[in-house]
């Protein structure tokens, strides 16, 4: 599983980095960016889903492994 932030949709609500700080962090203006390469470590899947489900702009994208 991987996560990414759709930069065109993100408006800096900050839900992703509040709910899943291992996966997301704020940039200098408060927009969400992924930590590292966005690969979700085992045990972080639920946090990734919560971040996606709580983004008001639906900017958090989860890519399940094929």
């Amino acid at each position: 599983m991987r996560v990414r932030v759709d930069r065109d949709r993100c408006q800096g609500h900050g839900r992703c980095y509040s709910l899943a700080p291992e996966l997301f962090e704020p940039d200098e203006v408060g927009d969400g960016v992924v930590v590292g390469d966005g690969v979700v470590a085992p045990g972080q899947e639920e946090a990734a889903r919560r971040a996606a489900l709580n983004c008001p702009e639906q900017a958090v994208v989860i890519e399940e492994d094929a």
Binding site: Q11, G12, H13, G14, Y17, S18, P26, E28, V29, G30, R50, L53, N54, C55, P56, E57, Q58
Partner: protein, 401 residues
């Protein structure tokens, strides 16, 4: 004094967000509108619309081509069109492309990293307010606690004298709640606000210091200093937008906890649940309704909108939409999926949302630690603010020991 609001016959065709029933409790009206029409209309204020579905509120928030932000508070007059794209209080009143740059200037000062630095001072101030309430059986959670917190925080950020707090609260009331005041009176009150801000700017020009006002005076947009009008307009925004909104959110949360012992007891027992609960309280009692002006005659969702019609963006209505939220009318303090729009949607997302969340969390943490058991002293004595920012302005709470 505000002129009395003419009674509303039917909120679907004649709504008034200053109407007595709406001010007391808008949610039953919103649910009625949701069933009967998804977009309410009124001829008041020179013509206005109010969608109540989340999808429609979002669509208008995103559509900066057809809907202008040149003013966001519904009144009986519109500012001249040539005030766009800057507007009276940039960037809230700005349209693209100006909006992006004006917002970019401010974002670093309101980032989560910047706001975290303000938390210790905010906590100390909350404790100081609570110290003053010790030993009393009945305290006003709105007037004696909630309202003081954002006033102090924003005054410190802007570098304004703390003793001017009463003045700021007066400005908020005049600008946001006084929309039905006689026009001449309203004009004079807004002039008083801008005169105050000009004086603060002068003081900061003479004595620059490490605060937001001096930052704005030095800030550049597209390689140039901000115009004096831009600086003062932004200061007006920062002073006004953060005060009654956050005050309302803190007050509404205390109101809910005062009348819902199960939720209050759970938060006292499980303080780690507070951040989740705060999101739910923001969803259920979203304080802010924004407004847009229709740019040109247009047909939107079957509505024949005329240029300069208002559109109210009711985030409170969007947040109770059963299409988006399970059990939308129930407060579920451990709600896990909560895509609420209390801070708006799209490019105008509340600039101060990280600040507001910090203030709300610290206020509730300190209050619950000090007064874990409280209830409404007199439910009929609770007074809610009218208009586009909704929260309790009188909230007598009985504190039990």
């Amino acid at each position: 004094m505000s002129e009395a609001v003419r009674p509303v016959a039917d909120y679907a065709t004649d709504f008034d967000h200053h109407g007595a029933e709406w001010v007391a409790d808008p949610y039953p009206i919103i649910e009625d509108l949701r069933r009967r029409c998804p977009v309410a209309r009124t001829e008041r204020y020179g013509g206005a619309w109010m969608p109540v579905r989340h999808e429609d509120v979002a669509a208008i928030a995103y559509d900066t081509e057809r809907f202008s932000s040149r003013t966001v508070v519904v009144g009986h007059t519109r500012p001249p069109r040539d005030i766009a794209p800057v507007g009276v209080a940039p960037p809230i009143s700005s349209d693209p492309p100006f909006h992006h740059g004006a917002r970019r200037v401010l974002l670093p000062a309101f980032s989560p990293q910047a706001i975290a630095k303000l938390e210790p001072g905010t906590r100390a101030f909350c404790e100081e307010l609570l110290d003053r309430l010790e030993g009393r059986d009945v305290v006003d959670g709105a007037a004696e606690f909630a309202q003081h917190i954002p006033v102090r925080v924003i005054a410190d950020m802007l570098g304004f004298p703390q003793e001017d707090a009463d003045l700021f609260r007066g400005f908020v009331h005049d600008v946001l709640e006084g929309v039905n005041d006689p026009l001449e009176e309203r004009f004079e009150k807004v002039q008083a606000l801008f005169a105050y801000l000009e004086a603060q700017v002068q003081d900061h020009v003479t004595n620059p210091r490490d605060d937001l006002t001096s930052y704005l005076l030095e800030a550049e947009m597209d390689g140039e200093r901000l115009t004096p009008r831009h600086v003062v307009g932004t200061m007006a925004l920062l002073l006004l937008a953060g005060i009654d909104t956050t005050w309302s959110a803190i007050g509404a949360s205390l109101w809910h906890l005062a009348r819902t012992p199960a939720d209050r007891e759970r938060l006292v027992a499980e303080p780690e649940l507070l951040p989740t609960a705060i999101e739910e309280l923001l969803r259920a009692y979203a304080p802010v309704t924004m407004a847009r002006l229709v740019k040109e005659d247009t047909t939107w969702n079957g509505c024949e909108m005329r240029a300069d019609d208002w559109v109210l963006l009711s985030f409170p209505a969007a947040n109770r939409d059963p299409e988006v939220f399970e059990d939308a009318d129930r407060v579920v303090i451990d709600r896990e999926v909560n895509r609420h729009a209390a801070f708006g949607l799209g490019p105008h997302r509340c600039l101060g949302s990280h600040l507001a969340r910090m203030e709300l969390r610290v206020a509730l943490e300190t209050w619950l630690a000090r007064f874990p058991d409280f209830s409404l002293a007199d439910p009929d004595a609770v007074v809610w603010s009218p208009g586009q920012v909704r929260g309790p302005r009188r909230l007598p709470l009985a504190v039990h020991r």
